[in-house]
Amino acid sequence: MNYLRVYRRFVITYMKGKLEYNMSLAFELIANTILISVFFSGFFVIFYNFDCIGGWNKYETLFMMTSSWLTYSVSCFFFWSPMKDMGELVRTGKLDLYLCRPISPMVYLILEQFQYTFIPRLTLALVFWIYSIGKIAILWTPGAIIYYAISMVSAFVIYSSITVITGSISFWAIKSEAIVSLLTNNNYGLKNFSDYPITIYGEGTAVLLTFVIPYALTGYYPIAHLLGKTVPFPVAAYISPVVALIIAVISSVLWHMGLRRYESAN
């Protein structure tokens, strides 16, 4: 089965279906757009008063933030909703229905939804990405472009893997939502630390975000490398593909372990 063709067609019909029967879809998109706009407004208010943070100026920080937001939004299109629902699927046993199909449950979970509510985030991130890219001092040599592209792909893998890990926790913990939101919540979670240069948080946090929950690798280190900024752990500029691979493997293992547990204990 050509997954891409199926998915593309399904997404279109899914959206059409949603539009016909659910006018609140438009409302959801508007609400999300305003939410994200407000966030950017706050960002610009801060930089209205100050010129730079931790040695990064407004455009550099903006470019770093939007780079990671782009990959994050795309990752969320696929993984955010199914993993968020895992707690309920496991608790109510609805997951059973995903297990008796000739395709893997993960694939089925992804195929049957498309989290369009991230479109505003993606769009606005793109807008400000374009806005900031012209104003920063990066020399876009072929090497730099390749480096950046690889970093973006790694970032996508890292975000997706972390999301899958948080979903997999539902196989073991009963009320996992609280822990999950600590890691991934868009307002209060650890993820927001990576919107700004991690040097401002102190050494402990820098270590955490670089080597433990590698959010810093999704934007900070690659952009810092391209801009020639000093970073706490220079080696981190080169390890994102490797780390992405490792964390992808961990998430896959955890997911399958969780599934097996579900299938044997239910």
């Binding site: 609140s24 409302f27 959801e28 508007i30 609400a31 999300n32 305003i34 939410l35 706009s37 407000v38 966030f39 407004s41 706050g42 208010v45 801060i46 209205y48 008063n49 100050f50 943070i53 931790g54 009320k175 609280a178 822990i179 939101s181 600590l182 919540n185 209060y188 979670g189 650890l190 927001n192 630390f193 700004y196 240069p197 040097t199 401002i200 948080y201 102190g202």
Partner: protein
Amino acid sequence: MRKYLRYSYISIKEYLAYPSNILAELASKLIYLFMQICLWKALFDGSTMHGNLSYIDTIKYVAAACIVSIIIECNTIDRMNQQIRSGDIVNDLLRPMDFKLMMLFKHFGNTVIKSLLIAVPTFLFAIRLISGIPFSTDRLLWGLISVSLAYAIHFLYSLVIGMLAFFLIVTWPLNMLLGAIYKILSGIWIPVTMFPEFLYRINMFLPFRAVYAIPVSLLTGSAGDVKGSILCQLMWLSVFLILAEFVWMKGYKKLVVQGG
């Protein structure tokens, strides 16, 4: 009176039933506070003044805002939405009690327990982070009065939005929308003194700053016009009291006529 207090008591019990949620909430507040303080420290980059912004004042403001938010935060909107969706709202509406007062007491119970379990540790953490106390002793009394007024305003605001669900069924996009505007204009995140001129002016006509900007700046001692601020809050309080009563009457009629 006692039956209303019962609801506060139940609220407290419900909150205590999920210790892991309490821990997670505390952790998220501490993480948020840490992040904000680091942010402003880095922005000021060692200098005590930046333009006409004072580092100490900003730090104190941010810490105080975080602590005050724990007390003022209101989950009445979510609670009501849930109840309406599940139909449980009918039970509450059938009681021989004032629905709005009932909601208030439920919220109050929540506030009390949260102040104890979350606000206190956050306060201690804040002291450690900023190496000082985020509040100032002169005008402290006015600050406390202001916080009480803000508490009432925010509760009434949440009640009104919650009651809109009688008409709209699904209010979460509206919450999200207003919540976002609230977040920036109320001063809970960035001190309103930092706003560009045009935004600052617009904000003067809106109620949001009465919930955080006014009380927090009074508490930290950085506010100028005490009487004006309190009057402003009193005005918005009256507006929301009337609005709440109005929406309630309309909403209740609709509910009764349409059968929920």
